[in-house]
């Protein structure tokens, strides 16, 4: 489909409009944190622990401090006034280790910051790091979460020798009855391995303390500038109104920048100490060692059903690899997995027990999908295994157990209310697209020829648009300001801080349609707390579903105000607003948006009960989450000699509610599928038994490259969400969530003739080759 030429009259929402942000991104004209160069700026480099666990027996900074060009060196004993790195999530009985921004007498994971060297350039700063002498008293470490809580592992935190960070229990319905009535019970241990988010741009911070004003400006590659501002101000003991956070252009986050990091506070601390701006840019190595990882689940599932395929209930024991500390949302992520445990199915009996396990690894936290990929992987694998067990087609078992259309809004076993759905629709559409019967016939033939071909289906459901404030740690609303200048140009300021998702385009489309003006008249601003009203941020596929809705309501208000000025100027009380102007319904006379806006600023005369100016800010609280869904189908073939999994075809039919810009939606889904595929086939953060990160470089951590991602055939069904006026649900994470179970179901289906029932991710060639060998032996 071609992109659309923009004309003023036709609606822009729903059109494949090219991203307005891309020209500056692809011509190198964007300003990332590392492009910020302030006069007199210093550079910081951080000494980090090379050990998974060690006591700092001695720390001598004298050689570093004396190195020409080094202006300051700070260690754990210097940062006493700075508050700990915050954990925003709370659970009953949660153990929260004190996470100081520099290690005190002990380090807990490889990469743990120990000291910071500040110098006139980044090379000298880095040289200075090598000149710090540390005597390490190396301690035993543990990196495997199951081993960590087995009772005989080294204690990550000496005060909690069992390594248990928390227990979390959720139970609904009557699980014991469900299992007692079951005619068939299937059990499986399923892992969702540790992953490294690998945003293209690593983290980076520039801190600038204006000594005269005692005000701090922190430029940071963050998804949540306002939350960061609040929390950094608290950590540093600064008044929040003297703290400004700017998230400049960003090269991705995927959840890894939905956080408050030690280095952000550390750079603020350094800038305040030296009274000069300071910059720290994370290297890829540091990024892999110290920016949060994702997933890290070991799940023990049990599913109970009748022989006819009716699912009765499900049990889950979930071990979450926490890492050494809680970052902002660490303990909350596995609780999301529990909430989404039932997937799209109507059974009402669940029991889940989560154990958080401390390990000597970098903390886990939200990574694209955050808790939902794990849940979806679990339920979609279990449903497939159940189907295989009772000899039912994987399509049939799904259709039998889906929540029915008339049941919406549907209260799930875990206490959520699914907003709207038509779960069979994307599945039927996908089956049609792939010619499911034809594929099964092809598979039969392939099997006769001894070829291993698999067809894997996943029908995922996901929870988006985080969310109603009571269900989120720091507010789940979003904000928007619409400001019309005296000349009629429009500025939109979103609190959502999109960082690559394309809202500069989609929010402009929404605005253009509502105000009836061309896209070019609209400027979208995000990411600067000194300019934009307080906002929450972009994560959890909430940008458009919550931030876009806030914008919609702000636009309605601004339109009403414009209309009041229009009525005044037209001297009529019968006017309507359309196509960027106000029309008198009697005379047909019109005034333009610029005339109305201009009149509001000149304010020679005011309409009744109307203030001057043309600016509206809206804070919108969503009444519920949204719940997108869809069906992904992966067709694979396995090379018997090498074990390599080849994706022959990949289909995605997603229902994400109304679509503002199909081009951007495609991009989000493609990227999401690529990341899901990465998890399914290639990616794994590997720590060895000493808690050293083996995959510490892109040389060893296999992010899929363009040539490794198959052609993705995609389509949609549209079931609008009733939760917000745009009817949108959210698309940022859907591809990732839908993909990995489709892939594993496909590979298991291919290997079924060999008696294989489950394969854990990543399904590397060697892993499959070993399975083939043992099956053939």
């Amino acid at each position: 489909m071609a992109t659309t030429t923009i004309t003023k009259t036709e609606p822009l929402v729903g059109k494949r409009i090219r991203r307005r942000e891309d020209p500056r991104l692809i011509t190198g004209a964007a300003t990332y944190v590392d492009d910020i160069k302030l006069p007199g700026m210093y550079h910081a480099a951080i000494l980090r622990s090379p050990h998974g666990a060690a006591r700092i027996a001695a720390l001598d900074i004298s050689r570093a401090a004396a190195h020409p060009g080094v202006v300051a060196v700070f260690t754990g004993k210097d940062i006493t006034g700075v508050g700990p790195v915050p954990c925003g999530a709370s659970l009953p009985g949660l153990r929260v280790p004190v996470h100081t921004i520099l290690a005190q007498d002990r380090v807990y994971f490889v990469g743990h910051p120990v000291a910071v060297v500040v110098a006139s350039d980044r090379y000298i700063a880095r040289d200075g790091v090598d000149l710090i002498d540390v005597e390490w008293d190396v301690l035993p470490a543990v990196s495997d979460p199951e081993k960590a809580i087995a009772g005989d592992a080294p204690a990550v935190h000496p005060e909690w020798p069992d390594n248990i960070a928390f227990h979390h229990h959720q139970e609904n319905g009557n699980v014991d009855d469900a299992f007692a009535q079951a005619e068939v019970v299937v059990k499986q241990r399923i892992t969702s391995q540790r992953l490294i988010p690998t945003a293209m741009e690593t983290r980076g911070v520039v801190a600038d303390f204006q000594t005269g004003d005692k005000a701090l400006t922190l430029y940071s590659s963050t998804q949540v500038p306002h939350l960061l501002r609040t929390l950094i101000a608290l950590m540093l003991g600064l008044p929040e109104n003297k703290t400004r956070v700017v998230a400049p252009e960003m090269g991705g986050g995927f959840g890894s920048k939905l956080n408050v990091y030690a280095e952000e506070a550390l750079m603020g601390f350094v800038a305040m100490k030296i009274g000069k701006p300071v910059k720290w840019i994370e290297s890829r190595r540091e990024n892999y060692l110290t920016t949060i990882h994702g997933r890290g689940h070991v799940d023990y599932f049990e599913i109970a059903a009748k022989r006819d395929g009716t699912i009765l209930g499900m049990k889950l024991k979930l071990i979450q690899d926490i890492g050494a500390y809680h970052q902002l949302l660490t303990p909350a992520i596995p609780t999301l997995s529990v909430l989404m445990m039932p997937g799209l199915y109507k059974f009402q009996n669940i029991r889940a027990h989560v154990v958080g396990a401390f390990t000597n690894c970098v903390p886990t936290d939200a990574y694209r999908g955050a808790g939902r990929p794990e849940a979806t992987h679990g339920i979609e694998r279990m449903v497939d295994m159940l189907a295989a067990e009772i000899g039912m087609d994987p399509v049939e078992i799904r259709l039998k157990n889906f929540v029915a259309n008339e049941q919406f809004p549907f209260s799930t076993a875990t206490g959520l209310v699914y907003d709207s759905g038509n779960y069979a629709a994307p599945l039927m559409k996908a089956l049609d697209l792939v010619d499911y019967q034809g594929l099964r016939a092809q598979q039969k033939k392939a099997r006769e020829e001894g070829r291993l071909m698999g067809i894997g289906i996943s029908t995922y459901g996901e929870i988006c648009a985080f969310g109603p404030s009571p269900a989120t740690p720091a507010g789940g609303w979003e904000s928007a300001t619409v400001k019309i200048d005296p000349t009629g140009k429009v500025t939109v300021m979103t609190g959502a801080c999109p960082h690559g998702q394309g809202e500069e385009t989609t929010f402009a489309q929404i605005t253009a349609d509502e105000l009836g003006i061309p896209l070019d008249d609209i400027h979208v601003i995000r990411g600067d707390t000194a300019i934009v009203q307080y906002g929450i941020g972009t994560f959890g596929s909430r940008g458009t579903a919550v931030g876009g809705a806030a914008l919609y309501f702000a636009l309605q208000e601004v339109k009403a105000k414009l209309k009041r000025y229009g009525a005044m100027l037209l001297e009529s009380d019968d006017v309507s607003y359309q196509g960027g102007q106000c029309v008198c319904n009697k005379t047909g006379r019109t005034v333009s948006l610029a005339e109305m806006s201009g009149a509001s600023y000149r304010a020679m005369k005011l309409p009744p009960n109307t203030s001057p100016g043309m600016q509206v800010t809206n804070f919108w609280e969503p009444p519920n989450f949204t719940f997108p869904f869809g069906a992904h189908i992966a067709v694979t073939e396995i090379d018997r000699e090498t074990g390599a999994v080849q994706v022959k075809r990949y289909f995605a039919v997603d229902d994400i509610g109304n679509i503002i810009n199909p081009l951007i939606v495609d991009g989000q889904l493609h990227g999401g599928v690529a990341q899901g595929l990465g998890q399914a086939l290639y990616e794994q953060a590997v720590y060895d038994e000493n808690a050293q990160l083996v995959t510490g470089e892109l040389m060893d951590y296999a992010v899929p490259k363009a040539t490794m991602v198959p052609w993705i055939e995609s389509d949609h069904t549209v079931t609008p969400s009733p939760v917000n006026p745009l009817g949108v649900k959210g698309v940022g994470e859907a591809g990732t969530i839908g993909c990995s179970p489709a892939m594993v179901n496909s590979v298991v289906d291919a290997l079924r003739p060999l008696g294989v029932k489950h394969v854990d991710m990543p399904m590397t060639s060697e892993k499959i080759w070993r399975i083939l060998n043992s099956a053939q032996a």
Partner: protein, 281 residues
């Protein structure tokens, strides 16, 4: 990922470069695709770097004296696309085309790759199969070695301090019966195993075979036993003839491929490489 301080010189002539390198303290820089990452990781910390990239005398590809002669700084892209290489030693062009990605092929050089002697690099397999010679020079003069003598061990070559590679040459008339088969390490894109094969055949029966193997062990090697076993075989006999390719080899093992898997992949891909070469012979 920040290198230590170093001095940088970019001489315009070979003589100047050799005199700068004569002390043996300075490090030559070609494409920088291996050296710069090592410097950034501080695995290498030379005080002085001498850039060979601005020396016209080192950048050429020509056919003379029955050999294809390639200047040390010819990029992977130049080798992959050169009509001389493609017609006279297509195996080398095919191999160069499979190195890294476009950016790496535009920067990386044949001299740099061979001097670096990464045990998973692609070129050595083809150069061994083709019977390449490496010419090296220092301020005092030059000498020519066979590729087998040049590659000593993992990241170790016969280069003496102050010496650089100036030329790599292979016999012309390599023939179309060749294939480079590479199994990619999914993260780095280097070879888990790479098998370069050059065969001659008549009537579908192999008359001669040369097989170079990379990735399998600490250094690339020629599989002499397999070469001998292939002579006289038709397609049906290939699998058996290549079965010994990993015999007695101390195979590499890492998170991407255990030793056992690597050996088996060497057999599988050797079979596929020979079959493909034979089909083109």
């Amino acid at each position: 990922m920040i290198a230590q301080n170093f001095d940088y010189t970019a001489p315009a002539s070979l003589a100047e470069a050799l005199s700068l390198l004569a002390s043996g303290e300075a490090k030559p820089l070609a494409g920088g695709m291996s050296l710069i990452p090592m410097m950034k990781l501080r695995l290498a910390a030379p005080d002085q770097v001498v850039d060979l990239g601005r020396i016209p005398e080192l950048n050429y590809i020509r056919h003379d004296g029955g050999r294809v002669r390639i200047g040390a700084t010819a990029t992977h892209h130049q080798v992959a696309t050169s009509t001389t290489v493609r017609s006279q030693c297509p195996l080398l062009a095919a191999t160069a085309a499979q190195i890294g990605d476009v950016q790496v092929r535009n920067m990386g050089t044949i001299g740099g790759s061979v001097a670096h002697a990464d045990p998973a690099a692609d070129y050595p397999a083809a150069l061994l199969a083709l019977g390449a010679e490496v010419t090296v020079a220092n301020a005092g003069g030059s000498r020519t070695l066979s590729i087998e003598d040049f590659l000593v061990d993992t990241f170790t070559t016969a280069l003496e301090p102050g010496e650089i590679i100036t030329e790599i040459s292979v016999p012309a008339g390599g023939g179309s019966g060749c294939h480079y088969q590479k199994m990619l390490q999914p993260a780095s894109g280097f070879a888990i195993v790479g098998i370069a094969v050059q065969v001659t055949a008549s009537g579908g029966v192999i008359a001669s075979a040369r097989v170079g193997v990379t990735g399998l062990t600490g250094k690339a090697f020629r599989a002499h036993g397999v070469e001998a076993a292939l002579v006289g075989k038709s397609a049906a006999g290939i699998a058996e003839a290549v079965a010994g390719i990993a015999d007695g080899v101390d195979a590499n093992s890492d998170i991407h491929a255990s030793a056992g898997y690597r050996c088996q992949m060497a057999r599988v891909h050797a079979g596929r490489a020979v079959a493909a070469a034979l089909a083109k012979a």
